[in-house]
Subunit: 333 residues, 2 copies
Amino acid sequence: MVTIQDVAKAAGVSAMTVSNVINDRPNVRPSTREKVLEAMARLDYRVNVAARNLRKGRTGIIGLAVPEVDSPYYGRLAAAIITAAQRRALRVSIEQTASRENELDALSLSRNHQYDGLILSAAGMSQADAERLKVEHPVVVLGDRIFGGPVDHVAMPNREAARAATCHLFAQRCRRIAFLCGAVEEVNPSSLRLAGYREAHEAADLPADPALVQFVDRLGMREGAQRAREMAESGLDFDGVFCVTDSLAMGVLRGLADSGIRVPDQVKVIGFDNVSESEFLIPSLSTVDPDHDGMAERAVDLLVRRIEQTAHSTRHRDFVGGFSLVVRESTRG
Amino acid sequence: MVTIQDVAKAAGVSAMTVSNVINDRPNVRPSTREKVLEAMARLDYRVNVAARNLRKGRTGIIGLAVPEVDSPYYGRLAAAIITAAQRRALRVSIEQTASRENELDALSLSRNHQYDGLILSAAGMSQADAERLKVEHPVVVLGDRIFGGPVDHVAMPNREAARAATCHLFAQRCRRIAFLCGAVEEVNPSSLRLAGYREAHEAADLPADPALVQFVDRLGMREGAQRAREMAESGLDFDGVFCVTDSLAMGVLRGLADSGIRVPDQVKVIGFDNVSESEFLIPSLSTVDPDHDGMAERAVDLLVRRIEQTAHSTRHRDFVGGFSLVVRESTRG
DNA sequence: TTGTAGGCGTTATCAG
DNA sequence: CTGATAACGCCTACAA
């Protein structure tokens, strides 16, 4: 391995000077710089990042903990975050958490100086775990579950967007809108979007039939398809479905087709996420498009601030992203 | 920051002993171990990974360079690799390359000791770049472009699977099968699958009309949809479509629907990748299911071997994954 | 079974 | 403008 010392020797200067050249510091005579660069090239020198990290107390890597990368939603999120981080010359190491326990593990890894900071997309943790976030290391939580906690926080516009989606269905003359979601806990995407759905009903002065709120175990396509068939066969009266994710909605489109129900003629369907597939489904899927890029940008930005500030300010920020409504065939007519 | 020295002092032992406890080495008296563990807990000690890395010359992180994570295919691949790596207590840092230049950059990062090794999913590099892979650091190439190169290599069963898919269409009484692919270069997924498509024609003793081979710029849904409409409107005579990716096939399903062509009645469609959405499309999509997990496992395995072996054997392995054919509605009847 | 000494490659400090 | 020195926190010999 070629070290900075070797380069120094080859160039006839000290290691310090080589270091100065590498880090583009001023106060190096151009001719000296030349000699050093030449020696570096000749020896094919590479900085040893581990040594630099040790010295600087930084790694240049941020962690991103998500339940799974292989899902349209988290995949998109990961992509946006990696892009935002690359702009700041940071690398992103991805952790698949899948469970609450792993989420907590990811936190301690961050503490192990493996990462300069951690973006935690908390799906499993709840308010009760917020205590464990009281970490002296930079953490930004992405998600909906821990508000007012001891960390910076970037959230989806869940309630507002759900309300807008529901209003849109009203405007399309739906009157009995089913709401399809996962388990509703204190504060999670399902509960917040359900609140928006209810708000829309109140605002429109239409009662929301509790029978129309349907729960599934997982927010996947399979579950959506199955539940849609069950709803159709049970004789439930509904003319619209608001699904808390596009994956669920894709399943619902399939399930309704299986049951011989035409979308949008008999039932209108709207999703949430604006996954790239939505545009090309048959029928194409209306959906809520959250500002993923903006949220990713913001999350990285907050994290970088925490990393760079030395004093640990206790003021924490809660940021809520923007969204737009994408109207396609599944709610036309 | 709490160091190993602090713990040693607190426990009334030497740093060495603390290190022995941390690394689960024998020859530590149980009572001593207790004292040390207690002190570690009390001080909330965390190992400094940077220091350990510097000392050991390892980082415990492998790089994964893919064109983009936000695509069904690469997302699935990334998930499989992260899982395989986690089993070996390795972390994965994801690089979005998007271009050939970035792919080469990722290589040098690997050299910078940032990673112990690199899995490079080479989409843009070509045989000509293979030289640059002659790196003394562990690299495994995942993809199809660099065979017989100076690195280990895990490839898809492109030709075999394409042949099987084409045969399946023949068996479904298709006689004029369009082949939809991206730019065909020396060795890439499109060219290899095209070869399989042609082999199937020869084996069945059916001529392959060159007009049926259609090229698109990007293997995306949008491009698939547009090309399908063009094919339909141009009056091209075809009763089957083999798409080199499921994304493309999803677009084709949409484009054919736009043109009033019924699948599978008038035209049968088959894809490649078995993306999770395929099962729930309307109609559900027949496709080739490559053994992603097996390939990921193998890639990580090869990389770990390279990392662990000190002598740089020059023998490199080319591994080709397995596959299965998933028959769904889009080719029924 | 435990301790001591030295160095991994880099950079901050401060003196020249 | 350049260089000597001393850390950063950990681990491996070797010694006790």
